[in-house]
Amino acid sequence: MDIFIQQVINGLVLGSIYALVALGYTMVYGIMGLINFAHGEVVMIGAMVALTVISMLSDSGLPGIVIALIGLGAALPVCMGTGFAIERIAYRPLRRAPKLAPLITAIGVSIVLQNLAMLIWGRNYHAFPPILPTSEHEIFGATITGLQIAIIVIAALMMAGLILLVQRTKLGRAMRATAENPPIAQLMGVDINRVISLTFVIGSALAAVAGLMVSANYSIAHYYMGFILGLKAFTAAVLGGIGNIAGAMLGGILLGLIESLGAGYIGDLTGGFLGSHYQDVFAFFVLICVLVFRPSGLVGEKVAERA
């Protein structure tokens, strides 16, 4: 039983991170029908920038949480700027092009960012300095660290904030209007280029936070980490119903739980034939199942043709 609880906790932590990244995919898709495959690299850049700053300050004597916040403070503007630049350079010129064109540039941007990161930070794994307190708490016979609690709580707060932004503010209304019908939104006076830019910037801010969380949680970061993480977050967004914000959150948490529980029990279930290193398989098994059986996702609806 305590193993089960432990895997649920691990799954929630992982799922919170997936959810934050999945939001970036789903918001961009919702507003312009584009899969921004470079989004995983924005997470990676966030992790690398935060980790670099944190490593430099790790001997400064400042409290660990302050160092982490400074690292995040550095990662946020870099990621937001990257997201903004990606849209301006790679997607805006192709706004009226066939759907396949921006998909190809997305992959191109992803490769460029990966290689750029490799040139800056090298091919090595970077260890996350042990600056954060490693307090452990007992819960139903399982342990949860202070960091894990922080990840779950911060992710939940950010998601709540995003829902408030989208549902309750004028900017949120403009975003939803642009997602539903761009020409009509323009008629209302919405500068849709600005709304699209802001969507990328907000998604990238979430990615920066997720980047710091991933590198702190696994104590590691490297230039290639964005690829697989991005694919999984994309899977989470599809699982929830791409374009749907609540769906991305649900999909992220579910995917984290599926992976974590799957990895925890696959050894027992297959008599030791398959081990927990098959964890990644679950995400893509889920992706295939969703695409075959419920392409609109769990909470997504069939998108009606625009009138």
């Binding site: 209304r173 939104a185 008629l187 006076g189």
Partner: protein, 234 residues
């Protein structure tokens, strides 16, 4: 107030509007009628900057607006009620109305205007928190008109407000259009229902294959044998 000269609109090589001239004076309601495919909606879309004009000029209150960025049009004082209504289906009635007031920041006045729209269309008030996509076509048309008025426009462009609606709904909607016009709103009404449009307007233009072929007082057009034969089914 609105001055259109030599306006042309083309889709690829096909000319939908072939250099038309017309004007709408302040406080006036003008009908643009014609058969399906005559170029009425293309004209309106070019005015509303949803389409680029291939040539000609559009002046509004003395200012050239032919090449305006689309989202700036509403701040100039023009609001379009688009063909097919174009409400935001997954937003509530109130949110749709708030979108109409997107360029305004006078929160108290916006609230008051929402109440005013509810008094024009009591049906909208009953459904204030409902998603627009769940409403009937007629109710959506009411919402689209209300949303356009929320920007406090100086001029209203109406594209086929009667299209696809039950006669009783058409009546209700035109009642409000008449009220708004009587309060001094400058209005350009594009309609396939020529009789209704001319009965509601002071002047009219008849469009055929991208050109304006007739124009004049609405009552004169209504009596014109050519108009009666072609558009009134007589």
């Amino acid at each position: 107030m609105l001055e259109v000269t030599g306006l042309r609109v083309a889709y690829g090589g096909i000319q939908a509007v072939r250099g038309i001239n017309f004007h709408v004076a302040e406080g006036e309601m003008v009908a643009l009628i014609g058969a399906n495919g005559a170029g009425k909606t293309s004209t309106l879309k070019a005015l509303a900057r949803l389409l680029d004009a291939a040539g000609g000029s559009v002046r509004f209150r003395g200012k050239e607006i032919t090449n305006l960025v689309p989202h700036e049009l509403v701040t100039q004082g023009i609001a379009l009620v688009p063909e097919g209504r174009g409400v935001f289906p997954r937003m509530t009635i109130v949110e749709n109305l708030q979108m109409g007031a997107y360029c305004r920041s006078d929160q108290a006045e916006i609230e008051a205007d929402i109440e005013r729209m509810f008094s024009y269309f009591p049906r909208l008030k009953e459904r204030a928190r409902q998603l627009a996509g769940t409403m009937s076509g007629g109710e959506q048309q009411m919402l689209a008109i209300g949303r356009a008025l929320m920007s406090r426009p100086k001029m209203l462009l109406l594209d086929e407000p009667s299209m696809g609606l039950a006669p009783i709904m058409v009546q209700k909607i035109f009642e409000v259009i008449r009220i708004v016009a009587s309060e001094g709103m400058t209005t350009l009404l594009v309609e396939q229902n020529a009789k209704l449009a001319l009965e509601t307007s002071q002047r009219g233009y008849v469009m055929e294959s991208g050109e304006i072929t007739l124009s004049g007082e609405a009552s004169a057009l209504l009596a014109d044998p050519k108009v009666r034969a072609a558009y009134l089914g007589e």
